[in-house]
Symmetry: C2
Subunit: 337 residues, 2 copies
Amino acid sequence: MTTVPVSMTDVRELVDGALRAAVGRLDPHTYRVAAYHLGWADAEGRPRKEPAGKALRPALALLSARAAGAPPESALPGAVAVELTHAFSLLHDDIMDGDRTRRHRPAAWAVYGEPAAILAGDALLALAGEVLLEAPGQGSARAARALAVATRHLIAGQSLDLSFETRHKITLEECQSMAAGKTAALLACSCSIGAVLDGAPEGLAAALEGFGADLGVAFQLTDDLLGIWGDPAATGKPALSDLRSRKMSLPVVAALNSGTPASAALAELYARPEPPGEDELAEAARLVDLAGGRAWARAEAARRVESAGEHLAGAGVPTPVRTEFLRVADFVTHRDH
Amino acid sequence: MTTVPVSMTDVRELVDGALRAAVGRLDPHTYRVAAYHLGWADAEGRPRKEPAGKALRPALALLSARAAGAPPESALPGAVAVELTHAFSLLHDDIMDGDRTRRHRPAAWAVYGEPAAILAGDALLALAGEVLLEAPGQGSARAARALAVATRHLIAGQSLDLSFETRHKITLEECQSMAAGKTAALLACSCSIGAVLDGAPEGLAAALEGFGADLGVAFQLTDDLLGIWGDPAATGKPALSDLRSRKMSLPVVAALNSGTPASAALAELYARPEPPGEDELAEAARLVDLAGGRAWARAEAARRVESAGEHLAGAGVPTPVRTEFLRVADFVTHRDH
């Protein structure tokens, strides 16, 4: 199993208190749903020890303050805001996608019902803006604006993803554009928000955003590879889970657009009305591989990581910080869950 | 029918262009749902002429700029932001409450499905912050923060309202607190946002907020009275609609807590498992009246309007602006729809 880079293990501790203080402002009903979703409490509201999630976005936010020469703590409101926005999007995504399981537990909507889960997501989104605008200094309004724009792009990506469900032909370009919105927009914002809060020049902020945008697509490519070939024991999802739900993920769309005999066979499999059996799932995975979808996704993830690194070159990011950013990129693309 | 005060008929024209420009930033799928919900388009995306809603919140936002001695146009980003927030809350409320009809048309979720409607609501909420933070001047961050806090209170009110559905005993205080959140928080923000954008002193902003908070509860009391005794031809809802859905509205909760024989009879009617028949509905309305719920709601609305006016006295609001605010309060409590 890949080791989490140091900057990421420190983060939970730094961010946790601020995140809990922010969520603690919510009314008791909404708080209960949010605390469950964030992994702090079980369905009855009893505290849980196990931390939830990778805290990737807060880690990047703190690192981005250091990129501008500011102390990581100065980015705490940014770290909290991106994590709240991420939590909001997962909460609502689970409802929209009808996913009943999140991180080995029942999804919040499956426990508390859709109305309470919709409302809790709304509350987390509004809270993200509130927390960010309380940050001292003139950078907070600029950061809040950047987060609002990133949220708009995130929603556009999710909206495109929803539209895929009712369409037959999806181009690789559309699928990459979906990932750029749904996954990369918030990661790009996370990679720059600490610097923006510190009042960094536009050039540095843009370089950090560019890094995060590429990192985000690499992240999604890795997710999509794990969604087909990941080890169920590590991912916590059933084997071949993305094929099971006939997800139009990047390797699948690349395979479908490859113009090979395998792509035609895959299209035929995906178009069948009845739910796929185990034999069909194994066959679909083989066809994605045969049509070049797996190799393309791996190579594209590597290209994106390289391109991400190029954004940082010459942007004036201190070398140790740049090294940490690259370490996170390496972690993101080599993780097993 | 009560005449809409002049300041409100002018508003649509001023605000409409800015509102359309903001919503025009959304991706095409989300735009389609938002444009339908806002009354600009039919389900197929064809333009509609008929304007939707009363534009009450934008009218108050523009007026609040004038309260600070600023031109009404300076509050346009505020007017757009509060209308977007209002639109977001209605979109999500209809899903949560399972209401299939909104302003004589199918609700957005009933046309486009829940996922698309959840997403469009999210987009409108994020857009509200984005638009506000683009306003020139230092007041924009303060205004965006006030709107985020108001949204948190709005959500707390809706959350309390949801909790009422599964409870037997609700106090009048809880019900007033629900209305203070769900309805009054955004109206209070609307009444002050233009002044806040202009950098008005805290005292003036607080007075305008206080006016709006009282106005908001008066608005809800009037809504609740119309929900029982409103003319279906004017309200567009079936007669006795709030009793039909056994809503725990303010007059009903006041009646249930009156300790009169009528309140016990009303509680018995509300507790019946089967849907109420027409005779039962008429009887419930009679009992709310008999238990003093109707008289209380009318008197409380008048008290709130008076209290609202007191907030403006001595706050330094120019007399013509104060007169217009009071005219809006009068309209709100004497409307028939």
